[in-house]
Amino acid sequence: MTYIIYIALFFMIIGLSLSAVRFVKGPTAGDRVVALDTLTIIIVSGLVLLSYVFDRFIYMDVALVYAVLGFIGVIVIARYLEGAL
């Protein structure tokens, strides 16, 4: 079971690095916001996996708060780019 956790964390770290490279490189504002969205989703799933590793039930609340609140920032930036805020 330990090797499965290591494999999953390895893939998540590579996904995080590629998104961070796009965040630095991206030519327009939309690319950076998409990279932020992808980083948020990958970190949410990583937090749920780590709460299984630590074996505490209450640690999943952090992932729940991220899943509820994570998209508000993206929507506010999108409304600003649209010019309607």
Partner: protein, 94 residues
């Protein structure tokens, strides 16, 4: 050992985002970089077994800080080079 490697990777990512937010001239990109910093800092608090601090950081850093900074940019200029007079702050307000 694996968690130490994960923690150092996250710290490196956070410092890179912080340097990017300082160097960048476009203020909207700096605000997005601030969101990335808050996200990774919350994951670090989680790894250090402090879920209550991580929860507060998630609620404040992701939603509240981004909204307030975006409203501020809406009322002032977006690019740093568009300041008419760098010493007078009131020249930035539209």
């Amino acid at each position: 050992m694996a968690f130490v490697i994960l923690m150092f990777f996250l710290i490196a990512l956070m410092i890179g985002a912080a340097i990017y937010a300082i160097v960048q001239k476009d203020l909207l990109y700096a605000v997005i970089a601030t969101g990335v910093i808050s996200l990774i800092l919350s994951a670090l608090f989680f790894l250090l077994q402090a879920p209550d601090v991580a929860l507060t950081e998630a609620a404040i850093g992701v939603a509240l800080t981004t909204i307030i900074f975006i409203i501020t940019i809406r009322n002032t200029v977006r690019n740093e080079d568009e300041f008419k007079d760098k010493d007078d702050i009131k020249s930035a307000v539209k």
